[in-house]
């Protein structure tokens, strides 16, 4: 095949692969998304909550999975393995092996009768063996696709030709024992690998007794214990006696930072998830007393340090810093567990009711296979080999990597990278982009005008989240008595894929023209249900939700009767509103196919180049007189190349690219317009220029903290790490005794956050000193060493080279003084428990990162928020890490949070990919919920005009014969649908579609039914 193809293969259906697939699909590429398991979702689907927002993991993930499954540009292939990839980008031929499901996907309705009758019980992978499933099963309740599959090795029919129950009971005749493996070939232009990771199996760490002592569980098991859908319905109990544990120990670094098991790296996420689990468990369990045993607490991400502080100070979670646990022993009577652990040279013992092993992340079991089959190199620890400056690239051109396959990482980093990989993969296929219209035929919309409301109501149990408190059957019975309700029923999970099919079926069966779902919050699930009813031919706005979980069952857990009454009221209110709902239409608006990148540092240039590579023009706006940003000052090589050298090369690339217009000494003066159609005023030395653009990438970077501490600026032998790098690179280093002080301007009262990069930077420079000047003594004074991921190897190397590490307490900074010509540093060594004195001839301050002071100004112009620390605040910390709530504006680099170069590069590519989901489109659809003017009433009084913050309203003439006759006009592209003007309108001429006065009044009246009047 030599013909170019607009398709991309994404391997792995976890959150990373799903995000890549969605971004590619939204950018006009066809995607083959393969997953070895019977359903997508990956490990995130097994988690109860996510840090640091404590969002319900499944709740935020599930809409994405459903979106991927139903996206017309994505072909989802489960139970599918990649056997080989031949050829070169953009002409790869991929051989796929599709394993038999033994259930026909086109027929299975996910009813579960088969599993009910299946006699073969096996331990459930999803529940990490703590529950059983049948041989015919779906991995979890909200699995996508909601199609059963048979586990051949445990099926009686497939192993012994006995039983056959499932085939007998299946109402859809979906069981097909004859299915065979199928080999399929697809042609793609590029490939993204996102096979994820495996949790470390702690059985090999015999000293912790996992497998032997039942009350020693892994963190993933504990995650299931916490989950309402897990083995104990979310009640925290221990396996042996199902009693609520009081004293609980978390042992960190199990299978991480551990050479004995071959994993010298840090798994990056365990500290945070342990804190999260401790907090969540404590919130739900009276008397729960968590103790966390760790070496360094690695809370380096955005607002992680706040989370850590809250865990410790507000929740009273006990943290044992600098601790290694030597062994765990069980009391055979009580089944309690005794931990022996050491702090420094002291050995202590404590008894606990439950022990949780915070297991690390290992390469996926299939990593080796993937490597062999696809010719992709792995690093010594079995993860995919990447480099600092090409964090998303494998050794094979056109094959990219994202997520934990390249290194252990958390969800937001994975998601940002996943978008980044989409930008990279798109580069090979952009010439064959296709429009959504080529793929989707608009569903014919049923005309409901003039029809009396026929309302269908679906009430969700949410497993037990709702049903445990609210009497759902009685709500359903009540709802059936309401006028216009022609159908109502209870669902275990209304959000599951099979429920979507069911809703569509019921719409047809009962000629429903309004749908109400009573479940969780519209903020996460409205879009899902709206697209479901759209597929059934109903206008998506003929939908209303009643939030009977987040705002009812969860907040009234001890009052089932009142909660049930409230649920009835809430559903009645939703039904009342739904009677007044009207079909709304969205109009299409053109898109400017170019972008503006604000900030010409590493992030900005990377994003600009990624978009230029797909043939989009980019204006790169830089406030200073040169490109390069902070990285220009970084000298010490990484992967053999110094950052300043890499940046210099990057600047040349940017300059040479015809797609990129560089605007130096320029700033943004004003931003008007809206997603796809921004008009940005740029102040340039040649005067103000208005640039039309489709998307804006904010890559304005951050600042290095200029220290006031430790005599900096006064004493010449006190320097910053950057100044040290300069000395080292230019042969001006001759010190004999170097002291590095960490957390200068970070993790203090004024700036509580961790600046993330300073520890590893110190390690890197300490190693550089030791390599060049082996006799120089180097001391690193720190609170924790936060060298996460493979940077842990720097820590190890530094230690091996003789760098000495001294841990000082959180609240007791070292004191530097000068005695004559001699510098004296006194610090409290937490391990030794005493003050120690060093006389260094060079003090190096590891200074933190600060947000740009002018962030606020730009934030106002693009209408986006800042975080409490002054960095830009993304739309969602977990799953929208480079987006803003304002559509068409994206974020990367230090403007988001301090980070390393590889992270910045991946995130910048991510922002570019997200921007390309906009600027690659031929058109965008307007929002349905916007203001509308009733011209029969409006006289153009003008009250609304200044009230609109988006300048979406203008007053124009309404009668060509009479210039005094006026009316208001709403620009549908600019209107954001807030409704401020509607409430201001004195004549009642303005209405907010979807939130009309009549609709809201119906809710009010319904809420107070039985009240006065």
């Amino acid at each position: 095949m030599s013909e170019k193809t607009g398709s991309v293969l994404v391997v792995g259906g976890g959150i990373g692969g799903v995000q890549t697939a969605l971004d590619l699909a939204e950018s006009g590429f066809k995607v083959y998304l393969t997953e070895r398991k019977p359903s997508i979702g990956g490990v995130m689907a097994q988690l109860d909550k996510t840090f640091p927002t404590n969002d319900c993991s499944m709740c935020i993930l599930s809409p994405k999975l459903v979106e991927a499954a139903r996206h017309p540009m994505i072909t989802m292939m489960t139970l599918t393995e990649v056997m080989s990839i031949e050829g070169e980008a953009p002409n790869f031929t991929v051989t796929l092996k599709k394993h038999p499901r033994y259930v026909r996907e086109d027929r299975c309705v996910g009813c579960g009768l088969c599993a009910e009758k299946c006699p073969s019980k096996v331990s459930s992978e999803y529940e990490v063996g703590m529950m059983q499933r049948k041989a015919i099963f779906v991995p979890y309740a909200q699995a996508v696709p909601m199609k059963y599959s048979i586990d051949a090795s445990n099926c009686l029919w497939l192993t012994k030709q006995r039983c056959g129950n499932c085939k007998k009971v299946c109402p859809a005749d979906a069981i097909d024992y004859e299915q065979k493996e199928v080999i399929e070939k697809v042609h793609v232009g590029s490939v993204v690998l996102a096979p994820g990771f495996e949790p470390f199996d702690p059985t090999v760490k015999r000293e912790y007794g996992y497998g032997e002592f039942k009350n020693v569980v892994t963190s993933l098991e504990f995650e299931r214990i916490l989950s309402a859908t897990g083995p104990y319905q979310g009640h925290v109990v221990r396996p042996t006696d199902h009693k609520t544990p009081k004293k609980v120990a978390f042992i960190q670094c199990v299978g991480s930072r551990d050479e004995k098991v071959g994993n010298p790296y840090c798994s990056s996420v365990c500290c945070m998830y342990a804190l999260k689990q401790a907090i969540i468990a404590k919130e739900h369990t009276a008397g729960f007393e968590p103790h966390i045993f760790f070496m360094d607490i690695r809370a380096f991400g955005k607002e992680f340090e706040d989370y850590r502080a809250r865990a410790e100070n507000e929740y009273g979670i006990k943290l044992y810093r600098g601790t290694r646990v030597a062994s765990v022993d069980e009391d055979p009577e009580s089944k309690n567990l005794t931990l022996r652990y050491s702090v420094g040279s002291d050995v202590s013992e404590q008894e606990f009711d439950l022990v949780i092993l915070s297991v690390g992340l290992e390469p996926t079991k299939s990593a080796k296979e993937i490597s062999d089959r696809l010719g992709v190199q792995l690093n010594p620890y079995g993860f995919c080999q990447t480099t600092v400056y090409n964090p998303l690239e494998t050794n094979r051109p056109g094959i990219y990597v994202t997520g934990a396959f390249s290194s252990p990482k958390d969800i937001p980093t994975t998601v940002a990278e996943a978008s980044g990989a989409a930008a990279k993969a798109g580069k090979h296929v952009f010439e064959n982009r296709i429009s959504i219209d080529d793929v989707v035929k608009e569903t014919v919309e049923t005309d409901v005008k003039g029809q009396e409301a026929r309302i269908g109501v679906f009430v969700c149990d949410c497993g037990i989240n709702i049903a445990a408190t609210v009497n759902v059957p009685s709500v359903v019975e009540y709802v059936k008595t309401l006028p216009n309700v022609v159908f109502a029923e209870e669902n275990k999970y209304t959000c599951s894929a099979d429920s979507q099919e069911l809703i569509k079926k019921k719409i047809k069966e009962h000629s429903l023209n309004r749908v109400v779902v009573a479940s969780c919050t519209p903020r996460t699930h409205e879009a899902l249900f709206q697209s479901t009813i759209k597929e059934a031919g109903l206008n998506q706005f003929l939908f209303e939700m009643a939030n009977i979980r987040d705002q009812c069952s969860w907040i009234h857990m001890h009052e089932p009767e009142k909660a049930t009454q409230k649920a009835k009221d809430l559903v009645r209110m939703a039904v009342a509103k739904s009677r007044f709902l009207e079909p709304l239409s969205k109009s299409r608006l053109g898109v400017t196919h170019s972008a503006i990148v604000v900030g010409g540092g590493l992030a900005g240039m990377t994003a600009a180049l990624d978009m230029a590579a797909q043939d989009f023009n980019v204006d790169l706006v830089e406030r200073s007189d040169k490109l390069g940003g902070l990285a220009l000052n970084l000298m010490t090589p990484e992967g053999g190349i110094s950052p300043s050298k890499y940046i210099a090369d990057l600047i040349e690339k940017v300059k040479a690219d015809d797609h990129i217009t560089i605007r130096l000494n320029s700033t943004i003066a004003d931003v008007a317009g809206f997603v796809g159609n921004y008009k940005v005023k740029v102040k340039t030395p040649e005067g103000e220029k208005e640039i039309e653009t489709g998307a804006i990438v904010v890559a304005t970077g951050g600042q290095e903290y200029k220290p006031k501490e430790y005599m900096y600026g006064v004493e010449k032998n006190v320097v910053t790490q950057n100044e040290l790098e300069d000395k080292l690179a230019n042969g001006r280093f001759d010190s004999k005794k170097v002291v590095m002080i960490q957390c200068v301007g970070s993790r203090n009262k004024d700036v509580p956050y961790c600046s993330r990069v300073c520890c590893s930077k110190a390690l890197k420079n300490a190693i550089e000193i030791k390599k060049k000047h082996p006799k120089t003594e180097v001391y690193v004074y720190h609170k924790d060493i936060r060298s996460y991921g493979f940077r842990e190897l720097l820590y190890k190397e530094a230690g091996e080279l003789g760098v000495k590490f001294i841990r000082f307490p959180e609240d007791k900074d070292p004191v530097l003084s000068k005695d004559g010509a001699v510098l004296k540093l006194v610090a409290h060594d937490q391990i030794l428990g005493e003050d120690i004195l060093v006389k260094p001839d060079l003090v190096v301050l590891s200074t933190g990162t600060r947000p740009n002071p002018d962030n606020e100004e730009l934030a106002k112009m693009v209408k986006v928020p800042l975080s409490k620390d002054g960095y830009f605040l993304e739309a969602h910390m977990k799953l929208r890490p480079v987006d803003f709530a304002t559509n068409g504006v994206y974020l990367c680099g230090l403007a988001h949070w301090p980070k390393f170069m590889d992270e910045t590069i991946a995130q910048a590519s991510g922002a570019a990919a997200r921007a390309m989901t906009i600027i690659s489109k031929e058109f965008l659809e307007t929002q349905g919920i916007i203001a509308a003017v009733n011209e029969d009433v409006c006289d153009g009084c003008g009250v609304c005009e200044p009230v609109c913050e988006y300048r979406a309203i203008t007053i124009v003439g309404s009668d060509s014969n009479d210039p005094s006759k006026l009316k208001a006009v709403v620009n549908e592209g600019l209107c954001m649908g807030c409704g401020t003007c509607v409430a201001a309108c004195p004549s009642g001429a303005l209405e907010q579609k979807g939130f009309k006065t009549s609709q809201i009044l119906a809710q009010i009246d319904s809420a107070l039914e039985g009240g006065a009047k």
């Binding site: 009733n934 153009g940 009084c941 401020t980």
Partner: protein, 338 residues
Amino acid sequence: MTDKINIAIYWGAGCGGCDVALLDIDEKILGLGEMANIVFWPIAVDGKTKDVEAMPDKSIVATLYNGAIRNSENEHMAKLLRQKSLLMVSFGSCACYGGIPGLGNVTNRKGIMDLVYTQLPTSDNVEKVFPQIITHTKDGEIDLPEMYDTVKTLDQCIDVDYYMPGCPPTTNLINEFLGVVEKHVKEGAPLPPKGAMIASNKTLCDECKRKKSVKKLDHIYSPHEIAIDQEKCMLEQGIICLGSSTRAGCGAKCLEGNQPCRGCMGPTAEVLDQGGSMLSALASVLKVDDKEALLNENDIAELMAQVKDPLGTFYCYTLPKSIIKRKVTERKPFKKEA
């Protein structure tokens, strides 16, 4: 003439201005005379309640009822005339919205009686004599209509067919309505649908000739505080003008006289509560600037205190027809904020 129709005109709680307005239609009154027998019009024609009672049901084609329902007599006559009439027209602001008498709903019968009979500077009533519904005299009983606590609109008391707001309705509107009735009588042309409002659908800004620019107010003034620009939008000058929330049809006469609209025509069909709607509009156009985030809730309360009497200002004509309708009394006293 046998094909003349019967028309009645009655006043409830009103000032008589509506009756005068009918006479103000000049020579058109002659046309009315040709078309109709005026069977009952207490202000102009002699007639007694018993005469009306004697009429066959539905024998009056149209009754123009002006004034609100303030007492038992208003109510009795409204019901009686409803019984005798084919069409009931709520004539003028008091009948439609309660009008100025409707402001009595900020108090109740006792409040009004106390005020009028004991508290006014001119009252000289040491014995505290109040009018009684029934008074026994040596010549027998005399009775007065019972005054109600709450003023009602005509349609809160009886079924109404048409509404013609205005304080009073303008000649144009009256003529328009009479024209429609005449056409119906003479040519059999259809009548407007039940519930129709004999006025414009738009607001007063549609009829107002003043120039509009940007509605961002710095300050609110009373009309006497500034020299009002004749050409410029009244609201934009900082004067509370209810025009933008008031139904058109009056021809913006007050504005022509350089006075702000007080809202006598009531709200448009899209608005439930004229006062609430205007309150929201006015609050919305008070300027928001960069320093807004620094203002606290007291600053805002102070800013809004420029509107001296929101109830009296925004509900001058419509209190009985508003959502709340009348003053309430909390069971527990509460501290008034400073």
